[in-house]
Amino acid sequence: MKYLKLIAVAGTLIVLASCQKFLDTDSPSSFNQEYIFATESDASKGVYSVYALFNQDAFTSRLSNIFTGNTDVEAGGVGAKPDNSRRDIFSFEVTDANGDLRTVWNNAYNAINKANLCVEGIEKSPIASNPEMKQLLGEAKALRALWYYWLMNHWGDVPFTMTPTRGGDNLYLPRTGRDTILTALINDLIAVEPGMKPSGQISYGVERVNREFVMGLIARLSLMRGGYWLYPDMVMRRKEDYKDYYQIARDYCDKLVKTYDRPLNPSFARVFENESKWIVPANDDVLFEVAFQPGAGDVGWCLGMRVDAGTHPYGSGSAYIGLTPSYYHSFDTLDTRLPVTCTIIYFDTNLQQTPGAVTAIGPGKWNRLLMPTPSGPQSAKGTGINWPLMRYSDVLLMLAESDNELNNGPTADAINALKRVRERAFPAASHAEKVTNYIAGVSGSKEAFFNAIVNERAWEFGGECIRKYDLARWNLFGKKVAETRKTLSAMAEDANSGVGQYSELPDVVYYKFAEDNTKAYPFNKGVIFYNRYAKAAVVPPLKDSPNKGDNPNGYIRMNWLKGLYDTKIPGPGSYITTSWRGYTDDTGMAPVRYIFPLHSSTVSASLGTLNNRGYGYQ
């Protein structure tokens, strides 16, 4: 009996002694924060966790495109009634039950928290002063700023933190003012920018956040901070100190131009073809583009030239968001950006180039047919086409804009910046008129030059889905929406009646197919338009009219601006009446309610710290 007791006691003691250690379970497959930010290579994998959140539907098919409709440039199709889908976002009718709101919000804060973890990890790292670590720190901070920028553009004042969330923290942050957030982010980036590397000195170049982009981002954030925004009482205001921020914007654009200047790619089309062809040139137009590997990314599927699935190996793609006919006709017809930005043809199931309707003018900058490896007959998403977040011409135009604002009119620097953008856009032969004379004509006053910037940014960035942000900060959103609807209505009426301001524009277009209108043939040339930008003075010989076989080589007639008119009402058709339905002020004086409500789940999870009061939501 005794020895048994002894064994029992001894056994228990041994077990107890080792028990605390026994209950510690560590796997060689998991790591803590210190470990990850102790080496450059692991730290970069840490930062890639922030980048990875670009490869989510929240970004690829939501934030990067559908969240930015509808403006005077980009407009997505809207149904007869609100349907709780993306179409409600287009028409300013989104409600707190729209799942896309949650998807994007959650993804944004997931990215911000991961960026916060990276910032903290790098700052605490023993090798924090290594140049590569400083670069990574800048990347994390810039990505954080970018997500906050989008959040504020869509939800106004939002909860703000620059430290990663921990278990014991107050999880119920209230909203912070946009001015506070923007100032903090701008200062944060100003501090980190000098330690960063230019795109030419980092692996994967402009597919990663680099010094040039951060300079541009400082300017972009500053212009937002210096611009107008919508307050919950439905008034657009800007802060008194706005000029300080225009100064920062000008300084950083100028710094970028002075330190990392580069010629704009002489071919506007090439800039985007490169993306579709998976080419990432250095020191070109694009300062930073979101990189998608083959099998990822929605560019060319939900935003790009329409391709219908058939037996061909390119799969299908279309666009959630199209371009407005008024925008299309606002272009100078010599502008090389027009055929690149706006496509009025698409590729049918046999890859035949085919004209589309006036209400379906597509973004032509990206095209899945150019992908080096076709993605298969029934493929859809996963094109691997990159998405540009900032181009050099944006920096030039921001420079021109801030300079004009600060100096009460454009200085030589501003004029030169605008000139560089327009020179690339027009063929050399028309430079005298379209560049020199044009700029001279708009440089007379601050207002004229500002208006020129407003227009130039539309023509330069159409389809790139940044117009909404510009219109908001300029306090032009309401005006432009009202204007667009008015213009489109007039175009429809005039096309129908044949008289009026727009009666010279084509009510119908005549086209025929080129001998070769296949994919191999240059885009936009497979369909030969008899008239494209003006009304045909005489009706060209029509195909098979009046009798079949009469004129096989004749033209085919297609409704153009007439397609905007609904003879049954009679009046402007549903495209015009529904696309901006939630905005009802035809004078354009009222602000557009571009601020979204928080998703109902976000409100309920906040336990009362967040609500949807204001902006007319409650």
């Binding site: 209950l23 379970t25 014991g168 999880l171 990822a296 298969g376 859809a380 789940s601």
Partner: protein, 1080 residues
């Protein structure tokens, strides 16, 4: 009594003569009633260690010293019998079956007890019962059999998960599965145990019984004991069956003509100029042609997908035998189960080998090795599978003109986002099941060894070591038709192989000591220590861009043919747990029984400082029937009152939920350089909480065991209340933290309930015997406290985020869980609700005071006569999500239970079992989804909304009717709103989809026939039984979906919070079985 005295006297005389002489006694033990020989019966000379067991012929031989003595004959399921030895050396002993089962041995934690001596609440089912119902799955055998134990099969797919809930389950968001113990060893599930190998299943229901398992006992403990080897002549038996299955219930879908007519109407509403109408005409022809579809037989997709006749078979072979000192048993089972759905099925191989060896009288050894290999084919219809049961309903029965001519379906102009649905619309679901290939192989190998040492009679020591090695392999193939291939794989096949290994070690040491008490009191002590550790590894390999014609078999055999996409390896460190426990059992005069237990558990799932949990429990019982005054009443043959109180814990949360850990992954990575950039992500998706601690359940139970008429009728009544504190809740936290949830200890829930079970022999004559069992239980779960927020909205997510106002469940402090929350249907708008119709603007103007559901019910028809109408609960004239929804019903049944009858007459035996659930509501998603065009292009609907029933907008000539009066005239007999009321991607949840889920099911019926011994013994076979069984024989229910008992969900997290949602999962089959039992 007189007889005994006489016998004794005789014995005394005889023994005096033969004193001190060893002699051989032989005998035979038979069943008193049937006369069947009993095998493995223990025969012991009273007060000595001299013992043996009967052999396969029921015979024994025993060498006894001297002439006197008494033999004690004991056998599971029979009353013990004492036989005084006489001069007779060949005895025939007749044992009486123990009807009351009071002497039945019940397995409790780390030991056994007879039911008579229990103080806790334990429900049991014996292997013999299960044998009568040839099912492949233990859980199926348990359904409805034990009061307070609810068993639900997630869906009818082979290998589908089975949910077992003991007394409702306590946690609101954590796993409520009971703890499973097989032969003393904790396992994850009991799916891999062959039903033929079961000796008994005991379910510990109250904390006084479960507290000995401490940490993990809060949700009850299911103890499975497999058959133990018996000494004697080697006995071999074979059990086998073949099974046919069919699809018991089809939903009535629209005929080809009705289908085309509805599509025509839908297109007409869109307008004769709409692309919908143009396309309709293109694909289905003009109105006058539609008549032709009356003569076309459409494809019955329910038949195509689930209707094929399928076969299953099982073969079981068992062997047991050995010497008195060394006994061995073997059980081998092969089972092949074809699923109703094309391409689905499971195949299983099971071996269990046991060896018991008595090294000496004091030292005994048990060894067991179990191996199971389980192959599951098919992606099923839930989770990430491409095919849904809905495809059986929604797939169009005809292809219109395309059935006659070849058209290019790609011409259909669809909304881009609906592309997925559109593609599915042209893909044959059967082809898709082939391309959406999945195969899962699970191999479990466990070895258990135990050494028992009894140095002195009062003390026994036992040490057990168990090792389980688990190997799982999952193969997933995505053919070109699947969405994954289109979006991620260049429209070429993709392959994923996931393999994982797991090792679990468990070491238990126990000490049992029986205190030398007085004549009246007995005290037993149990002291123990237990250690568990788990580790494993996982490899995930994914490659894409395989040749289009490469099938799954070739692909997985040659992954190098593709382009590697992801390769991930992980070392898994599971939970480590260290435990100490003790139990005291005190009995006074066999009448007053006390159990007290204490367990301490340390778990690595919590941070240092929060790791240890202490779980005490106590129970008392009073066997009143042994009291003189009760005996004098002479009513009760058994009467026992029990009371218990105890605590048990729950720590079933992910490992490392308390700390930040990162792991590398390449899942949806960034694509810099066109490459998958591996990144570090959180090991756990929720925000770590360093303060996590054990969830504790306090349970209180009072019970009454009773028996009448010499225990011909016996029963148990239990009342309980369980309270769970510090619930481990995966709490929704503001997503702006970067996380959407965090595990916290919060709130309190409780379950109150009552359970009654009865068993009895209804009729007993020599050749005829009829017995029955009955159980009923009622459980009332309640949320006592929440996280300060007294109402929480929960989403069932059956329609993803499509559902209009997606929060369709409520958790309310003070109420039960499973509250469905939605709009109240008010039929449909009639012409009387409208003031006017303007044919130019096409606007229907509602009369003042008629509430509008605009914005909520947002279909193409807008608000017009025939649109679904909702009740304006707050009377403000507009239907809003905030003000016009209410609780529509509760998924919690009022009671549930079952009853069974067993009868035998001569060589025939009949047994049957019925179960029911009463008073619960089911959220029938099919009622919504299948009566609208939910995300379908040219899809079909249920016949509920055929032309006759629905509110329609086209007249007999196919013309669109818009005027108020004309609509009223056309729809005089309409009974249901227009299926176009709701937006194609915005279904609305109303009380119309909340249905009574009560049902009554004949779980099975079996008829068996045992061949006469005279015949079988001639060929050396001791018994042959042939039987036939119908499983799921019939179902009485008003429920309109497939099956009120099937519930599955695509979102595991919220499963517990949103019960009662019928996702139209893979339906249960009806099976017909023919089987054979042979004993050699």
């Amino acid at each position: 009594m007189l007889k005994k005295v006489l016998l004794l006297l005789i014995l005394f005389n005889v023994s005096a003569v033969c004193l001190a002489q060893n002699r051989q006694i032989s005998g035979k033990v038979i069943d008193e009633q049937s006369g069947e020989t009993l095998i493995g019966v223990s025969v012991r000379l009273k007060g000595t260690a001299v013992a043996t067991q009967t052999n396969v012929n029921g015979e024994f031989k025993l060498s006894v010293p001297g002439n006197a003595g008494t033999l004690v004959i004991s056998y599971l399921g029979y009353h013990n019998k004492e036989v005084s030895l006489s001069s007779e050396s060949a005895l025939t002993i007749r044992l009486k079956p123990s009807v009351s089962a009071l002497d039945e041995v019940v397995v409790i934690g780390y030991g056994t007890a007879t039911r008579k001596d229990l103080a806790g609440s334990v429900g049991s089912i014996k292997g013999k019962e299960i044998e009568k119902t040839p099912v492949t799955n233990i859980a199926e055998a348990l359904t409805g059999r034990i009061a307070g134990v609810q068993v639900t099969t997630l869906d009818g797919a082979p290998g589908a998960d089975v949910v077992i809930r003991v007394r409702g389950g306590n946690s609101i968001t954590q796993d409520n599965s009971p703890l499973y113990i097989v032969d003393g060893f904790i396992v994850d599930n009991i799916n891999n145990i062959a039903t033929t190998d079961i000796e008994s299943i005991d379910i510990l229901k109250d904390a006084s019984s479960t507290a000995i398992y401490g940490a993990r006992g809060a949700n009850g403990v299911v103890i499975v004991t497999t058959r133990s080897p018996k000494a004697g002549k080697t006995s071999i038996s074979y059990n086998g069956y073949g099974q046919g299955k069919n699809f018991p219930r089809k939903l009535d879908v629209m005929s080809p003509y009705e289908f085309a007519l509805a599509q025509y109407e839908y297109a007409m509403i869109r307008g004769a100029n709409s692309s919908e109408f143009t396309n309709f005409t293109k694909y289905f022809g003009v109105y006058d042609d539609l008549e032709l579809y009356k003569y076309q037989e459409g494809t019955d997709w329910q038949d195509e997908l689930f209707g094929r006749p399928v076969m299953s078979q099982q073969h079981n072979f068992s062997l047991t035998g050995g010497t008195e000192k060394t006994r061995l048993g073997f059980n081998g089972t092969y089972n092949k189960d074809e699923g109703l759905m094309t391409g689905s099925g499971s195949e299983r191989l099971y071996f269990n080998f046991k060896l018991d060896h008595d090294i000496s009288a004091k030292l005994k050894m048990n060894l067991a090795a179990r191996y199971s290999n389980n192959i599951i084919d098919g992606a099923g219809t839930s989770g990430g599978s491409s095919v849904r049961v809905a495809d059986g309903i929604q797939t169009r029965p005809i292809n219109g003109l395309a059935d006659q001519i070849v058209i290019n379906p790609n011409d259909i102009n669809v909304g881009d986002d609906d592309y997925e649905e559109f593609i599915k619309g042209i893909v044959n679901p059967i082809e898709l099941t082939v391309q959406d290939y999945r195969k899962r192989i699970n191999r479990d190998f466990s070895i258990n060894g135990a050494l028992g040492y009894t140095p002195i009679k009062a003390l026994s020591l036992r040490s057990e070591l168990a090792v389980t090695l688990r190997n799982a392999e999952g193969k997933r193939y995505y053919g070109p038709l699947t969405g994954t291939s289109r979006d991620q794989g260049n429209n070429l096949p993709l392959g994923e192989i996931e393999t994982s290994d797991g090792n679990t070690y468990r070491w238990v040491n126990t000490l049992n000591y029986r205190l030398k008490g007085t004549k009246n009191s007995k005290t037993n002590f149990l002291l123990g220590q237990e250690l568990n550790t788990t580790s494993g590894s996982r490899t995930f390999n994914r490659a894409k861009y395989f040749d289009a014609n490469l099938g799954p078999e070739k692909l997985f055999a040659n992954m190098a043919l593709g382009t590697s996409d992801r390769l991930e390896t992980t070392e898994i460190r599971g939970e480590d747990m260290l435990s100490f426990f003790g139990r005291v059992n005190y009995t006074y005069k066999d009448r007053y029984i006390l159990y007290a237990t204490l367990r301490a558990d340390g778990s690595s799932k919590f941070s240092p400082g929060h790791r240890w949990g202490y779980f005490p429990a106590a129970s008392v019982a009073w066997r009143a029937s042994d009291e003189e005054f009760i005996k004098r009443i002479n009513v009760f043959s058994d009467l026992k009152v029990r009371a218990s109180y105890g605590q048990a814990g729950n720590n079933r949360i992910a490992n490392d939920a308390w700390r930040f850990l990162f792991q590398p992954t390449a899942n949806r990575p960034y694509g810099a350089g066109g490459l998958n950039q591996t990144y570090y992500t959180f090991v756990n998706g929720s925000l770590p909480n360093p303060n996590l601690k054990w969830e504790t359940t306090i349970s209180r139970n009072i019970g009454l065991d009773f028996g009448f008429f010499k225990n011909r009728l016996s029963g148990t009544l239990d009342l309980y209340k369980n309270t769970t504190k510090d619930l481990l809740v995966n709490n929704d936290i503001p997503p702006q933290t970067g996380f959407t949830s965090q595990l916290i200890n919060i709130g309190q829930t409780s379950n109150k309930g009552a359970e009654l079970s009865l068993t009895g022999v209804i009729f007993e004559k020599k050749a005829f015997r009829l017995s029955g069992s009955f159980n009923i239980g009622r459980n009332m779960p309640k949320i006592d406290k929440l996280d300060g927020n007294d109402i929480r909205a929960v989403n069932s997510s059956w329609a993803g985020t499509d559902l209009k106002t997606a929060d369709d469940f409520r958790l309310i402090a003070g109420r039960t869980i499973g509250l469905m929350y939605g709009y109240v249907s008010d039929g449909f708008y009639t012409s009387n609700d409208f003031e006017s119709y303007d044919p130019v603007t096409r606007v229907y103007k509602l009369k003042a005071g008629v509430p509008t559901s605009e914005g909520t019910v947002a279909g193409v028809i807008g608000i017009r006569p025939g649109t679904m109408k909702l009740k304006d609960l707050n009377g403000d004239g507009v239907i809003t999500a905030d003000m016009d929804r209410q609780i529509l019903g509760s998924a919690i049944p009022k009671h549930s239970g079952g009853f069974g009858l067993n009868a035998s007459y001569k060589a025939f035996d009949v047994s049957t079992f019925f179960n029911w659930v009463y008073g619960n509501k089911i959220y029938n998603t099919g009622r919504i989804q299948f009566n609208m065009y939910y995300r379908s292009t040219y899809g079909n609907m249920l016949n509920t909304v055929n032309y006759e029933n629905r509110f329609k907008y086209i007249d007999a000539n196919g013309a669109l009717v818009t005027g108020l009066d004309e609509l009223a005239a056309l729809n005089q007999n309409a009974t249901i709103w227009s299926p176009f009321s709701m937006g194609a991607a915005s279904p609305v949840f109303t009380d119309d989809a909340v249905e009574d889920g009560s049902f009554f099911r004949m779980t099975f019926a079996t008829l068996g026939y045992t061949l006469p011994k005279v015949i079988t013994s001639k060929v050396g076979i001791s018994s042959v039984r042939i039987y036939g069984t119908v499983y799921n024989a019939f179902l009485l229910t008003k429920y309109r979906g497939y099956d009120p008992e099937v519930t599955a969900t695509r979102s595991g997290t919220y499963q517990a919070l949103t019960p009662g949602v019928d996702f139209s999962a893979y339906p249960k089959s009806r099976t017909f079985t023919l089987g054979l039992n042979v004993n050699l």
